[in-house]
């Protein structure tokens, strides 16, 4: 059985003037279907860099990332774009919705980019918005929604193209405590219901109870809590 995500011996260096700084060293792990994984660590520890590499947004210096068994190492920009569209669902720090589309159209857009047919798009968008509790707010624009509601739309959007892997980059950074717990439990609920793999980067320790496994960034290495 292919795993949704395999990360193999990743190293990443950034150039800083004349010298190089190691950001990531020998990162190696894998995630199974239905697993909700957290990566925690202080700011600047390389969490977002790691997530960018996993998300085919940034290339790695060594090692490889396999998404659904496919290597992203030697793909060109267009192919990476297709991987992000088909195989990965992104949830960002703020919802990052398009201001001029109502909730249903936000979901419709990513499915349209993926050439999904119209009927299926409609049905999926409706079902997903119902899942995240926004069935009554399908035609609302971002400026008519609260911060929590916007992030719910973003969660629904991440699942729209039925990706194997969900990547959430501090999805609660802009929310208060109650809202944060709501969103993370919602992500967990969807991950379990749809049998997806998910990684959430966070520095809020209280959210770790929702996760199946927890990794910590320490000295550029990724160490799993046992």
């Amino acid at each position: 059985m292919t795993l949704p995500l395999e990360v193999k011996q990743i190293n990443k260096r950034f150039k800083d003037g004349e010298t190089y700084i190691d950001v990531l060293k020998a990162i190696d792990f894998e995630i199974k279907k239905g697993e909700f994984v957290a990566i925690v660590g202080p700011s600047g520890s390389g969490k977002s860099t790691l997530l960018s590499i996993i998300g085919a947004l940034l290339s790695t210096d060594d090692g490889d990332v396999l998404i659904n068994g496919k290597s992203v190492k030697n793909l060109d920009e267009g192919q990476r774009s297709d991987v992000r569209l088909n195989d990965i669902g992104f949830i960002f720090q703020t919802a990052e919705l398009l201001p001029y589309l109502h909730a249903e159209d936000q979901l419709d857009l990513v499915a349209k980019l993926n050439n999904m047919d119209k009927k299926e798009r409609k049905e999926r968008a409706k079902a997903l918005l119902t899942d995240v509790g926004l069935e009554k707010r399908r035609k609302h624009y971002p400026h008519q929604l609260s911060g929590g509601e916007k992030q719910r739309v973003a969660v629904a959007r991440a699942f729209m193209n039925d990706p194997a892997l969900i990547l959430a980059d501090e999805p609660t950074a802009s929310l208060d405590e109650d809202r944060s717990h709501e969103i993370v439990s919602l992500i967990k609920q969807e991950v379990k219901a749809k049998d997806k793999a998910a990684i959430m980067v966070t520095h809020d320790e209280s959210l770790l109870t929702y996760c199946d496994r927890v990794f910590r960034m320490k000295d550029h290495h990724l160490i799993e809590d046992k």
Binding site: S43, G44, K47, S48, T49, L51, S52, G55, L57, L58, G78, S81, D82, R84, L85, N86, F90, F92, Q93, T94, E96, L98, P99, Y100, L101, D105, L109, V110, L113, N114, Y141, R157, N161, D169, E170, A173
Partner: protein, 364 residues
């Protein structure tokens, strides 16, 4: 792509409305100025443009200006019969008093013709000239704007003659005056110009032998083509040059205005483009929807501008030289369309350069 473009524009109505309005204003100005340029040009040279004459024999020192060129043609008429394919062209400026109507004088250019000659344009209304000595005239229809109608009489103080308007013709204007055709017989019988003189001698097809024989009789002249004569009509080049310069600058201005507008809008949306790229949208899609917006905006604005310019033809006073010409209109509309696309393409470089990775770790 289309739906996204439309939804964005519908959401930011004011922003896109402003651009559309500015494009509409500039396009209308371009179209109106071009209509004016054509109208003025027509008033000045239409008679020459419409003429079947291809080559003109003008005095050597006339700088190709018909009004400064002149020949005595009595010898020529005797030596080389007009049947060989040449005709004299006389442009005689007159000032008419419109009898029983306005006090102001009407300037016109009188041209004597034989009704069977190639220089005679025929009538669009009324009767043709006759070849006798009757003082009937055919006038260009622009004289209608001055209140002239069929059977009106026009009095020329200088010669103390009264002419009757028997017909109208069209596209016959010269040096911003309507052309008035009178029969050659009457013109010479009344001695309106003293001898058998002509400003120029014209031929209607290339004929080197004829050109040589006319040259040998008249001497002191040279053959020039129609374009040279048109260019030398007083005011024509300078008028057209200044108007065309205005049009040129308007188009350059619109490139910069539109490019600046779309550049700013693109910069405002760079973050959105980054997010869209991160979730899998390609450059082609993003540039495509931006261009789609420009296409929709310019088609709309140019369409309204064309309608507006067309409606101007009804509002402008009748004597105003303004020509709504579909060829010119579509040429300038097409040019403006290309210019807007070009302006928008300048910002697509920014779209390509957006790094989708910026979507990640926004707060770090």
């Amino acid at each position: 792509m289309f739906h996204l473009a439309i939804k964005d524009m519908r959401f930011s109505k004011v922003k896109y409305g402003l651009i559309a309005f500015i494009l509409f204003l500039i396009a209308s100005l371009v179209l109106i100025v071009s209509g004016l340029a054509r109208g003025l040009s027509d008033q000045n040279i239409a008679m020459l443009v419409e003429s079947e004459a291809t080559e003109f024999y003008v005095s050597t020192d006339s700088e190709n200006r018909l009004d400064q060129s002149g020949f005595l043609i009595e010898d020529l008429v005797n030596d080389v019969p007009t049947e060989e394919g040449w005709q004299p062209l006389i442009t005689h400026p007159v000032r008419f008093v419109h009898q029983g109507k306005a006090d102001e004088k009407l300037a016109a250019t009188m041209i004597p013709v034989d009704r069977d000659a190639k220089l005679y344009p025929g009538v669009t209304e009324g009767e043709d000239l006759t070849n006798d000595a009757s003082l009937n005239i055919i006038v260009d229809q622009t004289m209608r704007a001055d209140g002239v109608s069929l059977n009106d009489t026009l009095y020329d103080e200088e010669t103390d003659l009264t002419f009757t308007v028997v017909g109208f013709t069209e596209n016959q204007t010269y040096r911003h005056t309507p052309v008035v055709y009178v029969s050659e017989t009457a013109f010479y019988a009344e001695e309106i110009s003293p001898h058998q003189v002509a400003n120029t001698v014209v031929i209607f097809e290339e004929n080197d032998a004829l050109k040589a024989s006319i040259d040998s009789v008249l001497e002191e002249g040279e053959w020039v083509n129609k374009a040279a004569v048109i260019d030398a009509v007083p005011g024509h080049s300078s008028e057209q040059m200044s108007l065309n310069m205005m049009i040129f600058f308007l188009i350059v201005i619109s490139v910069f205005v539109l490019a600046a507008f779309f550049y700013i809008i693109t910069i405002q949306k760079l973050k959105q483009f980054g997010i869209l790229k991160a979730i899998g949208a390609k450059n082609r899609f993003l540039i495509g929807s931006t261009l789609m917006q420009v296409v929709i905006l310019s088609v709309f604005s140019l369409g309204v501008a064309v309608l507006f310019t067309y409606s101007m033809t009804f509002i402008l006073p009748e004597g105003m030289p303004f020509d709504f010409n579909l060829g010119t209109i579509s040429m300038y509309s097409g040019l403006m369309f290309l210019v807007s696309i070009l302006g928008a393409l300048l910002s697509s470089r920014r779209i390509v350069k957006v790094d989708p990775q910026q979507a990640m770790g926004g707060a770090e």
